[in-house]
Symmetry: D2
Subunit: 341 residues, 4 copies
């Protein structure tokens, strides 16, 4: 069965597995203090053009969102997100579990709008009873968004500017960052992100690693005792090497970028196939997630031979589904799908 | 440099790395729903002689302690532990962070005593003002303990009996369970543990895996919506295969047991070496952690050529240090250490 | 200066102060175990026609919302509320602080709609990935709502029916319940509420008490160890008599109802005054909160001589403001206001 | 029946009830912004000789402990207390519920020892793995202690000095502060406490108020958005006047001190009675709580005619019980008890 169900279907890029084997018997200190974590951090800082940055490695995305938000906010403070933001609806309440409310604004194809954000904050800070309301103390956004869309440099700059006006950190969830950076339709670079955001992460799990997210504090602005916070959240990996080695490989010779570009190329071909076959798209995503509109009957037939994700019901007869490519998608996968359409 | 600093110095057993590579391009569903997780669970249930058991895989030990306790207790309930218990002092407050107090009793070489436990509970439940005090609602113990010691079957049975009298679950932290089961000085088997405890875990991180702990609910008594709880704690691995494959390998052909036995054999030889050289032990541990008393000067000299852990200051002149063996300890390591003593 | 700013401007009904003084030197046991709490509970059970009910006394509304929700939900579960619900926006994140997400549905003049609720739940429980989303585990509504509106018996019955279908408790916030029950435009009685809800409270703070809310578990369905939960939230009053005596007085000879009716009568006269003077209403509230539309200039002038609450900006030129009557509003207050309009 | 069961058996001092009645119909703004709160704060600042102080009013002791600790600590930080401290054992886990561990040190008749505190902190900060352990970030002590004992000025100064060396706030729980200040055996004044502590509270509930604790931040060092924190904990009283008026009365003409002295005088007479009758004391408490050793048979007989509190079993035949006097204890109460002994 062919599968375009997600970008985390396979294990890891072979270079990672190879390196894990090569280094397997080195006796290394734990908890992220090994030389591979250090090397990976250096390479990431270079890629971000952020020499002052501090880079930490965590295991998964929800974990990272929870820890970063809990570490950077004070008790009871809230975090603003688009209502489609991953933290708002698909993390089983991980943010609220740590006492922080997710304050949602309406999304625009998955994105926040700087003007709406500014208007929301202006109303909040003008309210005499604002201490009876949760303080908006951070802005969270995902790039690519949950809809596969991307912020333009101008848009992210405008949001960052609002954040700075109010002294609140801007946090970018980059679970699929590679696919955003290597899109053919973006003007936003990794150094731009490092310059505009106060904290962000470079996703590994969905971009060729077995697991792992690299959190970047671009100006060395790591919250105090961050290791202790990570430990308290049950997220401190004893064998930190597992994360360090993976990111060290991914950021050697641009592997992270080349495999991301491969996924984008596969996605572009996939879109061309759907387009040729006369299918319509729900959103014109420039990254590795393609949102196709299917007649329900077609969907049911296709489902028997290929895996994809249900996204949402469009109307009585049609459904939006998601096809995702990834670092491991092959031309054969595409050909097999094409034959079925 | 030789190192006996811990049992998580190396990567993973080679058979694990091999299997990760072999299965790498299989497209598998995520979050623990893949066939390797299922196969590993079956093998573990068989090893536990617990056909009704439910087995779940998590990444690390503190994470597992936090999630199991939070999932099994009601709001604000407490968990009883020895004052040396890992959750009491070395998890950065991970248990309290989720609102649960760790209620400590004095340890006996790392162990709880059933009679003291019963006495504590009797006093609590006789107190008219007990609703002003935290409810003791679970018993936590580690086996092996933080001191490398082991409960005898009789001792664990007595504790389990107290727990049942009060209707409270018994939770066994088995971060180093393999080393306990394969000690030459134990009468407690894996099926015994499954029969006596209400939840326990089989540690992978410290016994040959890159990461991973297998949580066993021996009578299928998994808390409702446990997957959601795991997600909410940021602990749900997208590529659950990483855990499933590792435990599937560890529980194939008794690998978990044979590598644990190897570590025990290495520890016995290590003890013999120290004994012959005239060193004294702080505790006579029957597992893979050896607690040696060193003159401070000797310690300083040794430290330059071999890694070990500081445990505690014994008096002005002497210090207790810990040497740990593991699945990857070699005869060469032992010989090199012997030459230094 | 005249004030219609809220219904908690004055101290307490004189009968309460008198009774506090009369009983002052009685030596009473603490924490709600005194005979006045018992007597008040009996009278409330009778008024609710709920002989099986359990009644507990807390100090304030946000406190009550937090404790009831925390006590009745399991870890990480969510509570559904209208997006205008007090818990959603005006309690400084008190619900999220205890780990529970407030899941909002669009309001209809402050009210939830049973069909929309049913549709929301149907979608949730049909979602294969629902364990990645917060479980809707309780429905919260306020009666009167934050807009002063009231559920009809039919509407509340429909909501209760949806709740029962899904096995989730229905919680009614009655901070202003007296004013709802004594409205001339309601068909919902206190026994109806006791029959339809799983937990609700009868507000004292806004209906003539110095402080206090009476929580009713109508079928004796109090969560286990509720006193301990109250203590853990810092809400267990040592001198529980302060709450017991107040509610005992309020539920003697129907005082709670007669003073509520007085406030309603004052509100009806207030509405008549505004209507006669040609003012328009934003919402036709049948209770003690009146939402009037004012030209901004008129508002500024009026503000100098009378206190009222800003509600929301209607357009560039007009603002919605709130006038509240209460148990202590006098004909003189009305006359003074009328003279100013 | 005579009762010496606690110091919160009666309602409030008559002057308080009188003032509540006198001011009852004043229309006052809520949430602590009324002139009585302001006046009370001014008088308390004067009594503390702390013109920079900020004074806030809360309802109860456990609530105050929870809020002050949660507001002043960062996520997951711990608070040091004597193992007999109220927060350690008798607040149903209120501190842990907000994610903070109570780190206990052995008590000395209820008191912490400055040298032991310093030693504990020295060990903690010397530990290389301290980020795996909860950070001790505040010191909590009660004065009078749970055993009715008092810190000498020298002792509190020494503890404050340790706190300052480590940059951690010193928090004094003064639930019974009046009785401590008016003891005949103390050299610690209210200005001393304001100078030495970083936050403390002056208990009202146990010293003549219906409820209420006055929190003092002596150098205006109130945590940011403290009102919002109070609201989030469900502790913001709508009718803040109830607290303001009570403390305004208590701090007018030294009423707080004179009624405290009365309780002390009653306690001294009570001790004399017991002493004359040949009873022994468990602890020589200089405040309003008297710990008497009773033969079990005597205790059972006495219990039928007088209320007191069980404290602890001393041995098989004898029990320690607590007799408390208060602002409302009368000579008649003493005479009646004397007649029974």
């Amino acid at each position: 069965m062919i599968s375009f169900a997600s970008d985390y279907l396979e294990g890891a890029h072979e270079a990672i597995l190879r390196r894990l084997a090569e280094t397997n018997y080195e006796k290394l200190s734990g908890y992220g203090s090994d030389p591979y974590c250090e090397s990976a951090a250096s390479k990431i800082k270079a890629a971000c053009q952020a020499p002052e940055a501090d880079v930490r490695f965590l295991v998964g995305g929800t974990q990272t969102n929870q820890i970063v938000i809990a570490a950077m906010l004070s008790e009871g403070d809230g975090v603003i997100a688009a209502d489609t933001g991953h933290i708002a609806g698909h993390e089983a309440g991980a943010i609220e579990y740590t006492g922080h409310k997710v304050l949602t604004l309406p999304h625009h194809e998955g994105k926040l709008d700087a003007e709406e954000l500014a208007a929301y904050l202006a109303v909040y800070f003008a309210d005499e009873n604002r201490e009876h309301m949760v303080l908006p103390a951070m802005v969270y956004l995902s790039h690519p968004t949950e809809y596969g869309t991307l912020y333009r440099k101008e848009e992210l700059t405008a949001i960052a500017s609002v954040c700075r006006r109010y002294g609140m950190p801007l946090f970018l969830d980059g679970a699929r960052l590679g696919y955003g950076l290597m899109s053919y339709d973006t003007d936003l670079t990794l150094p731009d992100i490092a310059a505009l955001c106060d904290v962000f992460y470079i996703g590994g799990t969905k971009v060729g690693a077995l697991c792992g997210e690299a959190v970047v504090f671009p100006r060395g602005n790591t919250p105090k005792r961050f290791l202790s916070t990570v430990k308290r959240h049950g997220a401190l990996l004893a064998k930190g090497r597992l994360l360090g080695i993976q990111f060290d490989v991914l950021f050697t010779d641009g592997l992270y970028f080349s495999i991301s570009r491969h996924a984008i190329d596969m996605a572009e071909k996939l879109k061309a196939i759907f387009r040729e076959k006369g299918y319509a798209f729900h959103i014109d995503s420039p990254t590795n997630q393609i949102f196709v509109i299917l007649e329900n009957e077609v969907m049911e037939q296709l489902r028997e031979k290929v895996s994809f994700s249900f996204w949402e019901r469009l109307d009585e007869h049609r459904t939006v589904v998601r096809f995702a490519t990834g670092w491991a998608t092959t031309e054969e996968d595409l050909a097999a799908l094409e034959a079925l359409l």
